[in-house]
Structure formats: C-alpha cells, structure tokens
C-alpha cells in the first residue's frame, strides 16, 4: 500500500524547503512533521474546525484538505511566520493577547491566520462581518467574545500602521 515518495519543494515562512511525500500525505502532516511547523494544529481533519489554516500563495486554506504534493512550488505561511521577529508580535497576535482571544490556545493558530487573511480582504469590517468572517474557525473555550474584540482591535491597528 505504500506508494512512491515524490520530491517536492516549497517556500515555508520565507525559507525554501525540500522534502519527500507519498501522494496521500496531507499538507498539514507535511508541515508538522517535516517542516517543524507544529503550530499547524489538527482539530478535525475533515475541513470544518479551521485549526490547520495556513496561507498558500497568500490565501487562507485548510491544510488538512490539501495533499502536500499539491503545494509543490507554493509559498506557504503558517502562524510561525507572522511575527516579524522574536521580540515583536504581529498585530493580530498582539490583539489576541490583549483581548483574551484565546484560552487553551489550540484553535488559535488557525484563527490568527484566518483573521490575518480576512482583514487583508476586509480592512474595515463591521461586527456582523467579523462574526461571519471568522465563522469558519471553531473555538470551544472563549465563546468568541475575545476573538471578535481582537479582530476589531487588529483591524484598527493594521489600518493605523498601513499593514493591510
């Protein structure tokens, strides 16, 4: 049942990476196990919870619903690739911390990647737009109160700094 391994290369958080994968290996498993991006979390492996969300060529996608071989040549950003340096958080990360947008932290990487992409497309969202915009990610701890507030704060911060 073990299929041939296929060589592939992609850019992950700004660094070129090479690897091998059998065709059925998901992008999420590849990122976690071969690229040390363990911030990519698996909460359902059927495309609903959003914990595994990454940016592929700038767009938010579920990495559990892609095969690693499909990302050959792609530019991938995971939650580990958002902060500019070790001393500084990305405005979305900062906002999640400020607004208590996380408790156990398991869904958080997917939320932060999704919110980053969402604000890229909607720099000035209403609360209603925020609630529907983040509805593709599930959180079981926060009741979303802090996450909505964090998205609001991050929108303001990114507009202020011209990041979006």
């Amino acid at each position: 049942m073990v299929a041939d391994q296929i060589s592939l290369s992609m850019t992950i958080n700004g660094r070129a990476r090479r690897g091998v994968a059998e065709p059925r290996l998901t992008l999420a498993d590849f990122l976690r196990e071969q690229a040390q991006c363990t911030g990519v979390h698996l909460g359902c492996e059927h495309g609903v919870c959003g914990s595994c969300t990454v940016l592929m060529d700038g767009e938010a996608v579920r990495s559990c619903l892609l095969f690693a071989v499909q990302a050959d040549g792609a530019d991938i950003t995971t939650v580990e690739g958002l902060a500019p340096d070790e001393e500084t958080l990305h405005p979305v990360q900062e906002a999640f911390r400020d607004c208590h947008g996380l408790q156990c932290g398991f869904c958080t990487p997917g939320f932060i990647v999704s919110v980053t992409a969402f604000l890229e497309a909607n720099p000035d969202p209403s609360d209603e737009e925020i609630r529907h915009g983040i509805a593709g990610n599930l959180c079981r701890c926060t009741g979303y109160q802090g996450i909505v507030a964090a998205t609001r704060q991050a929108a303001a911060a990114m507009k202020g700094s011209g990041q979006s």
Binding site: G43, F96, H100
Partner: protein, 771 residues
C-alpha cells in the same frame, strides 16, 4: 508583618501563556516527536451490541511497517486496577477492560489496536483485520433500559447502575395541603465536551530503568501518574508525567480513558515510544457523552407563589463505560435542587442506567440538571399561577438576612453568597421592564421575543477526598526568579498567569518573575477541574509565597541592618519604607541565601524555598444570574439570541479578563447545548453525529455579545475567591431554554425538552396551530 498590598490581583494582567501560543510555539501532545516513535490506531465496533465470533489479525500484522496488533486477549490482564481515584473500590462499576474482548458494547468500542510506523499505516492495517460479529439487540433508550432483558454488561445481571431513593415524609405532608402542585418532566439530551484538541498520549518506556515517561493531554497529571502506575504495576516514582500545553478538556480529560491505558501497556510491551492521537470521529463517538438525563419535578406552591416543597425523580444514562467510573451526579443534582431559594422539604430519587452507547463523563457542571430543572420549573410555575417570573424569584430568593442557611437536603450555605444581589443586578443590566414592554409591542406586530433567566448557586472547590487539597512548592532561584511547582493541570484556565499574580502580590515580585511548573516534580494534587484551582491551588500558592516572603524579609533586614517591620517588598525590590534608596533586590537576597549562607542571620536555613499545602473547606459557593433575550422566526423556527447578561459573584477576582473569559466560554457551551449540539443515535444504537458537519459547535456568528457584571462578596478562604470555571455552562442552558419557551408562550405551547433546534421549534408552533 503585614501582607503585601494587592498590586496585581484584580488586574487584567496579560497572560504569560500567550506569546508562545499566539505564535504557534505551544507544545501539545501531538507535537512530541521521539526517535523511533510508533503510532496507534484503534479498530472500533460499528455495532452497538454484538458478539465477536471471529477475529484474525494476521494479515494486519504482516503489513510492512506494522509492529504489533493487540486484542483484548493480549492486553486485558490488569483489570482490577483501572479505577479512577475518585471512584472507591467498593462502589459498583461496570467490568473494566482496555479493549473489548468477546463482545462489543457500543458503537466505537475498541476491540483491536494496531501499532505501526505511521498513523497512515496503522489505519491501513485496520482494514486488514478479519473480524466477524453476531449482532445482538442493543439497549439504546435509557428510559426503558432498567426494564430491558438485554443487558449491557451481562456480568452485572441488569442495567440499573444506581438507585438512590430519599423520601421525606415532611414533603408529602406539605403536598397534601398545598394550593398548587405543578409537575413536569424536564429532559436534557446527549452532548459532548469537544475540546478542540482531542485526547492523546505519548508513552515511552525505559527498559532496565523501569521508568515510563509520559506526555499526555490531561487535566490531571497526578491522576495520570497514579492510575498509570497502577495499570502498569510500577511504583508511582517510576511514572514520569510531563505536562505541556493542553487544548481544552471541560471534564473530558480528568480521567484516563481505556485507550490511554492501552497505550501505556503497549509502550511497555514494545519498549518503544508509542503515540495515540484521537481523531475527531473517535472523539465524537467514543470519548464521553454527557447530559443524557431527565428529572420529573413536582413543586408545591401557596397562593402567593411561595415555594413549599418539592418531589424529584432523576434518571440518567451512564452509557456503557462511563469515563472515570459510573458517576452519581444525579444524586448531586437532586440534592442541589433547592438552589438559591427557600424551597421547603424535598423528597428525591436518583437512578442511573447502563445503555449500549458511549459512556457518560464529566462535562462542565456535571450536576447542572439541578439548575436546568429548577429554573425551567420556576418559569413554568410562574406561568401556571400567573406571576411574573422575576417577581416569583424575588419572593423566594434567599436574602442576606436569611444567611447562613441550612437547606433541607443537607447543604449548608455560608454568609458569603449573594443570589439576590446578582438577580437584581442582572435584571437591571437587561432592563427588565423595558424589555417586557418591547416584547408586548412586538407581539402585537406578530414578532415573537422572549426572555429567560436562571439563578443558581454553584458548589465549587469541594474539600473532600482526593479533591480536598493542593500543594505549592515555591523556590526563589539564585537569579531571583520564582519557580512554583503545583499539581494543577491548566488547560486554558490561565493558571500560569493567575497563580503568578497571587504569588507576585504575596511575595512582592512581578508576575513576569514567576513561572508555574505543572506535572512531573510537583506535589500531589487532583488537577484542574471542578472549579477548584483559584481557591485551592491559589491558596496553596499564596501560603508558599508568604513563607518565602518571611525569609526574604528576615534576610534583607539582617543584611540592611534594618528592622523587618520597616521593610516592604514590591516588584522584586526590598526597601525600607520611606527610604527607597535603602534597598536590595530579590536576586541579591537569593544570591546570599544560596551562595553566601554564612552571611545569613544566625539560625536561618540556607536557600529561599517553601512548600505549603492547603486544605479546602467542604464547599465554597459562588452564584450567578443569567438573563438572555431572543427572537423566534415563526416561519423557520430559527432562534436568534439578542442579548445575554451575566451577573456573577466569584468573590475576589484575580484577573477580571480571565473570569469573563471563563464565563463566556461556559455560556456558549450552554447555548450550543440548547440550540445546536446533539449526539444523535438511531434506534439501533448507531451514532449519526460523527463529524463536525453533524455535531454543531456554535461559531462566532451564532452567539451574541456577552455583558458581564460582578458582585463581589469575598469568600472566607484566604484570598476571598470562589470557583468560577463551570458556572457559565450551568446557567446558560435554563436561561436560553426559558427565553425560547417565553417567546413561544403566545402559541400556548409548553416545551419540556431540548434541543430547541429549528425543527423542534417549528414542530411546537405547528402543534399549536394543529390543535
């Protein structure tokens, strides 16, 4: 010497956990990758009840990459030692095993375990297991389970797990003369915890050393250590449990699952590191379910609406293998039924039955049926006798002058509860009278608004048995940093921050100067669950910090040639009051304590460390009132929540942001339970909600903004805190239920069961127009 002033307690200090978690650098169990690590997949039954007539694993074993295939016959040799610590050996229990052997008893029952080089290969091998079943008639309906001739556990000779009748002749006397007796049966339905991180464990056996090293997604590293050691037949000191980040639990990770035990045994047999990460289907089908219960309530009320007496009959479904042992929350639910009211004498009976379904387990406020049944019943009584539900509660609620209060069921309320205050604060926040006016106007326009409330008292930080204590070992290191070692298992509760706040104030440092260490190396504690960490663990941390502070001050006074009484300690600096220039740092004191002990005051023990253990009083009660409003679309049955307010009293708040977060999370779980979530089984015991497409956890789009108000009546425990982890999930279900029932009142219907999904709501409306 006085205690340091509160500088950090009461502040919404940003969480110390967050920098790693928001950047993807948390370390959860699935992030543990060890050389030579093997992966587990369990083969699980597709039938609710069946005999295994044939089981051949040879083809699976022959697959490349497979290291072992275990069946029940291989693993179930430790059967007497699988009990959870909370579950006394003399109490009744279903037969214990790790893997089903000979027959299967629910869909999801594991009967085979493959250990292979990858999860992919392990699952490939499962498809090669040759198994045949002979189906048997399953016991699915818990209402009739006790009478069924089909037995979930043939060894027990029946399906009744518990039957606890507590009649009270005084109640019967009151009933004979009461103006009103109102009766209803309230139903909750099967739900599950759904932590976003499923269960999981990595176990690594060190041969010859005889040490089992474990990383686990657990709420209680010491439960893992104690029970794991027992399962393996090794000393507790040989069971090393590391505690990393844990992605939620809500009760599901208090106890070891059968799968956790199987992984421990397999790791020892194979002498290789073994990892099992539950997948979501397994989590929804076979971790634990909860809230499968009903309570028939009769209440006697006088002409003025005063509660006189109650008679309760509780029935709960334990499933096949209840997680942590067959529980008796039913007994607790009936005992707690009087809640924050003068209720009069109460008779009760609580029963639990086994069925061929996923086992029951603890889920945030496991006994909350008391609040569900009582608060829904009070709204029903209000409607039957024509009194406004807020007014009815006002007439019966316990007032400050009633305290302390002895409840007829045996509970005792201390003077530090505040149900009346939270009721009034919540009513004020929602604008009760204005809403009633708005509702009346809307009804004239054919719009259906509703308001529901729930008032409750929550027993937190229970002080009995293994739950009663926690310890803190606190050490100021040579560089002045503070390490605290505790038996807790923070999995979202923010203990790394709140414990640091407590220690910071008590010791006189900054929260950043304090690091909490859990798991291996800490003293025994039951872990995090049961709304107990703030009071019990917090008090231990406070006491340990206080012990060290005394030493710090004594040493500094000696070195600075000042009187200890003249010193203050704040933000890591010890200074002479009024003379800030005369000061030294915590690091200087520590360096002296460890590296220059000859300079210490005569008779002073070298080093800067102290261990304290706190024993909690029997119960520390918190209380809260929830009120929400909703609108129902009579064309589609959809319920939209409009506003949601909570007034709560958890005593002194350590970190208001964290308290509000705990409440919000619990509330949304309660909203999910009433409106969205349902573990549906069909008549043959087949679970129909096995993915996140069918088990509907609310998203941000389904929940309103939450407004929280705080009443602060300090408890009598050292910091004045009360537990608050579970409350949100206790108050929300009856509040939401009552709001929907209120909105539907114009149709003349009386809902008595959840979920109130669009289908149920439209059926209720249709039943009104059809009749």
């Amino acid at each position: 010497m006085s205690t340091a002033a509160a500088r950090y307690v009461g502040q919404s200090v940003k969480r110390l956990e967050d920098p790693r978690l928001v950047t993807g650098h948390g370390r959860y169990v699935d992030d543990i990758m060890l050389p030579g690590m093997l992966h587990v997949a369990f083969g699980r039954s597709d039938l609710a009840r069946a005999t295994i007539t044939h089981l051949d694993t040879s083809a699976a074993e022959a697959l490349d990459g497979v290291h072992a295939v275990f069946t029940g016959a291989d693993l179930n040799s430790h059967n007497d030692s699988l009990r959870a610590s909370l579950h006394p050996p003399e109490s009744p229990a279903p037969p214990a095993n790790m893997l089903a052997d000979g027959d299967v008893r629910f869909v999801g029952d594991p009967y085979v375990m493959v250990v292979a080089e990858s999860r992919y290969i392990a699952e490939d091998a499962l498809e090669l297991v040759d198994v045949e079943f002979e189906p048997l008639d399953p016991v699915v309906d818990y209402e009739t389970a006790a009478e069924s001739d089909n037995h979930v556990h043939p060894e027990l000779g029946g399906n009744l797990a518990h039957d606890l009748p507590v009649p009270n002749p005084a109640q019967q006397e009151v009933f004979e003369n009461a103006a009103h007796i109102i009766t209803e049966t309230w139903h909750q339905h099967r739900q599950t915890n759904v932590p976003m991180e499923t269960r999981g464990i990595v176990a690594s056996w060190q041969p010859h050393a005889g040490v089992m090293e474990v990383w686990a997604s657990t709420q209680s590293p010491h439960e893992m250590q104690l029970v794991g050691a027992r399962v393996l037949g090794i000393g507790e000191h040989k069971m090393v449990v590391h505690f990393g980040d844990v992605g939620g639990g809500f009760g599901q990770k208090m106890f070891l699952g059968r799968e956790d035990m199987a992984v421990l045994v397999a790791a020892k047999l194979l002498a290789s590191p073994v990892k099992w990460i539950e997948d979501r289907r397994e989590n929804l089908l076979a971790s634990n379910h909860a809230r499968i219960e009903q309570m028939t309530v009769s209440m006697a009320v006088d002409e003025d609406g005063n509660f006189l007496a109650a008679d309760l009959d509780q029935l709960e479904d334990d499933g096949a293998y209840p997680l942590g042992g067959p529980a008796t929350p039913g007994a607790m639910a009936t005992m707690l039924y009087p809640g924050p009211y003068r209720m009069g004498p109460v008779s009760w009976r609580a029963r639990t039955v086994y069925t061929n379904t996923c086992g029951r387990g603890a889920y945030r406020g496991p006994w909350q049926m008391e609040s569900v049944a009582r608060e829904q019943m009070i709204d029903r009584v209000a409607r039957e006798i024509g009194i406004d539900p807020l007014e009815l509660r006002r007439r019966n609620v316990l007032k400050p002058e009633d305290l302390p209060y002895q409840v007829s069921t045996g509970l005792f309320y201390e003077t530090t509860i505040s149900p009346e205050q939270t009721l009034e604060q919540a009513a004020e926040m929602i604008g009760y009278d204005d809403f009633r006016a708005e509702q009346a106007k809307a009804r004239e326009e054919g719009r259906y608004l509703g308001l529901g409330m729930a008032l409750y008292i929550e027993p937190t930080s229970m002080g009995m048995g293994p739950l009663g204590t926690e310890s803190a070992m606190l050490r100021v290191e040579v560089d002045g940093h503070v390490n605290v070692f505790m038996g807790t298992g923070s999995h979202g509760q923010s203990l790394e921050t709140t414990i640091a706040q407590l220690v910071a104030d008590e010791l006189g440092v900054r929260p950043d100067d304090v690091t909490l260490h859990q798991g291996h190396g800490s003293g025994y504690g039951f872990g995090t669950g049961g709304s107990r960490s703030a009071v019990i663990a917090g008090s231990a941390a406070r006491a340990a910090a206080s012990g060290v502070r005394e030493k710090v001050v004594a040493i500094a006074a000696h070195l600075m040639e000042a009187s200890a009484d003249d010193l203050e300690v704040a933000d890591g600096v010890i200074s002479v009051k009024g003379t800030p220039a005369a000061s030294m740092t915590m690091a200087q004191v520590a360096a002296t304590a460890y590296q220059n002990s000859d300079a210490l005051p005569p008779g002073t023990e070298a080093g800067l460390e102290h261990t304290a253990r706190y024993k909690a009083p029997p119960t520390t009660h918190s209380n809260a009132c929830h009120i929400c409003t909703c609108e129902i679309d009579p064309g589609t049955g959809k319920v939209t929540l409009l506003r949601y307010v909570v007034s709560e009293d958890c005593g002194v708040l350590i970190n208001p942001m964290v308290v509000d977060g705990q409440i919000a999370g619990g509330v949304v779980q309660g909203i999910g339970g009433v409106l969205y979530e349902h573990c549906v089984y069909d008549e043959s015991g087949n679970p129909l909600a096995s993915t996140f497409l069918d088990y509907l956890v609310p998203t941000a789009a389904e929940v309103p903004d939450l407004e929280t108000g705080h009443v602060v009546v300090p408890s009598d425990t050292p910091g004045g805190h009360k537990g608050t982890g579970e409350g949100g999930a206790i108050g929300a279900p009856p509040a939401v239920f009552n709001a929907v029932a209120d909105a539907l009142a114009p149709f003349g219907v009386y809902p008595n069961r959840q979920p109130l999904d669009p289908n149920a709501v439209l059926s209720l409306i249709a039943s009104a127009s059809d009749s």
